[in-house]
């Protein structure tokens, strides 16, 4: 049980983590993240890095879709832009890793803003269609702009290197990818404490009255697209260093659906939702793989049906959450916490 808190100043009331208990939990969480690489094996570090990359990209999509209300099915293609930016920079110029990742973010932000241009005129399904079209165009460019992307054979990426340390294995990359994820998630939380984040939500809830309050719709919609794509670009850049080869097949359309599913399953329009959704959706295929391993003695075809089953599971999760828990895992988490705060007085 926790007793209600009384805030002394407006500044304290506006803080991100406003209670002592929250700060203690947060400190424990960070400690856990630091100790994690020393306690688990390569496989779980691989999963952790992948989760962190997905957290970045999902948080980006959440800014656009969950907070601004603009549905996009282009997140994977945007990650592709980031990944190719890193691959090309490495291959051609050999510029430093951190710089490459940032450039990947900015290049992708530019592409995202361009794709967002129709968003002033079209909404909902039509905007989703426009982003699908954009992602097929990007895919076509990845596959056919041979002089830059090397077509279907793709580009190999050398290991990341930061401050003279080479990072090739998950145990090393963990220290690059996880900090990026933390900083970007915190930045996104900050955003929604300010006028910019509020403007995004206002556009989602009722864009006509947002305009009367002095929010220029086009500028903010493009800003949301650009920011969301920046997140995708950074995630894609990290992805390139993680998998070390970038091909047109690396970022298939189903990967965009994966991110949309993560936003919906986690909870649209909450930062926590983006994190929970990314973790959950990354673990689902792993659990399925485990299940296949268990089933293969009795069901020899299990491996073959893994891929279609995975797609079906993604789809079922989207529909299931939309119908039964539209606020996603974040809401379930909130209810659980509430239960424990009030326990044993009220359940």
């Amino acid at each position: 049980m926790r007793i209600g808190t009384l805030k002394e100043t407006y500044a304290a009331d506006e803080a991100l983590f406003d209670t002592r208990t929250q700060r203690i939990w947060l400190a424990l969480f960070f400690l856990g993240l630091v100790l994690f690489p020393f306690t688990v094996g390569e496989y779980w570090l691989y999963i952790a890095c992948l989760v962190a990359i997905h957290v970045i990209s999902t948080t980006g999509l959440n800014i656009l879709t969950g907070f601004t209300g603009l549905v996009s099915l282009g997140q994977a293609a945007f990650m592709g832009v980031g990944a190719y930016t890193v691959a090309v920079l490495e291959a051609r110029l050999g510029t430093p890793t951190l710089l490459n990742i940032l450039v990947a973010g900015f290049v992708t932000a530019g592409v995202g803003a361009l794709v967002g241009l129709p968003s002033l005129r079209v909404k909902g399904l039509y905007l989703a269609m426009a982003t699908i079209a954009a992602s097929f165009i990007l895919h076509f460019i990845f596959a056919n702009w041979n002089s830059v992307t090397h077509g279907v054979s793709g580009i190999n990426v050398p290991p990341a290197e930061v401050l003279g340390f080479e990072m090739a294995r998950p145990v090393q990359l963990y220290w690059l990818i996880v900090p990026f994820a933390i900083v970007m998630v915190l930045a996104a939380s900050n955003l929604f404490r300010t006028r910019i984040g509020r403007a995004f939500i206002a556009i989602r809830d009722r864009d006509i009255s947002a305009e009367v309050l002095g929010i220029p719709l086009l500028r903010y919609k493009l800003m949301s697209f650009a920011l969301s794509s920046f997140y995708a670009g950074v995630a894609g850049g990290l992805w390139a260093y993680f998998f070390r080869v970038v091909t047109p097949e690396s970022f298939p359309f189903v990967y965009s659906i994966f991110f949309l599913a993560a936003v919906i399953v986690g909870g649209m329009g909450t930062i926590l939702g983006g994190i929970l959704g990314a973790v959950f959706m990354t673990l689902v295929p792993e659990v399925l793989k485990l299940a296949v391993g268990v089933l293969s003695p009795v069901l020899p075809d299990a491996v073959a049906i893994l891929s279609p089953v995975r797609t079906i599971v993604f789809g079922a999760l989207i529909v299931g959450f939309l119908v039964f828990e539209p606020h996603g895992l974040a809401e379930i988490w909130r209810r659980t916490r509430r239960f424990f705060h009030l326990w044993p007085f009220k359940t």
Binding site: I201, R206, V212
Partner: protein, 273 residues
Amino acid sequence: MSIHAPLLCVDAVSLSFGGLKALSGVTFDVAPNSITAVIGPNGAGKTSLFNCISGFYTPQQGAIRFAGEDITKTHPPHRAKIGLARTFQNIALFRGMTVLDNIKLGRHAHMRTNLLDALLYWGRAQKEEVELRAEIEERVIDFLEINHIRNQPVASLAYGLRKRVELARALAMRPKILMLDEPVAGMNREETEDMARFILDVKEEWGVTILMVEHDMGMVMDISDHVVVLNFGTVIARGLPGEVTQNPDVIRAYLGGTDVEALQRRIQGREAA
């Protein structure tokens, strides 16, 4: 601009939707620091007039001037910035946000935090947010007596309170002119009296000019300085509240007959129209 110059001029504004003339040649002025009421039967064009003034519709003819500037063709965000605020007939709050966040949005146009400030929440962003919070708490929330609901999501509020929150958000814009579309429609007597008191206080304490559409004739008579009567998109009368209600055209438009007594009974009896 001299003190006598009108703050808002609506000059021969005409608006049509396809063949339907919603407004034709509407002309009137709003004097600074006054309360002007626009009345008229349903479908008279009152909301359309508001939409022209706040920039959702561009009139086909005529001009709208605010504080000396021709704003006929400017976008709504610009109008917000130069001091026009409004509320909506069917409440346009952001349902996914708390009362406090809704009100904070009112200050949007006057804040400077940019995207980078916002992501870092450092320096300017933090300073601005804390100042904003203090200002809203002290000037708006206390004033409108909504302290008890500040952290509630607006979706959970009763109708009368939502109207009050919408007024709070408009006040947070620090407007020069506040446009209220049917501020007491659907409210009970007590809520109506509270709202009338707030509107008068806004005018007197904040020096904000008010332009409102209202059906409640009792309230119109009580608090407005000037009344404009619309019927079928044209101004059929304007003047002091007392004068306008004597006007036979107005009585006909309102009651569909010539029953002067009935209208006066309504006004004196303070019945909601």
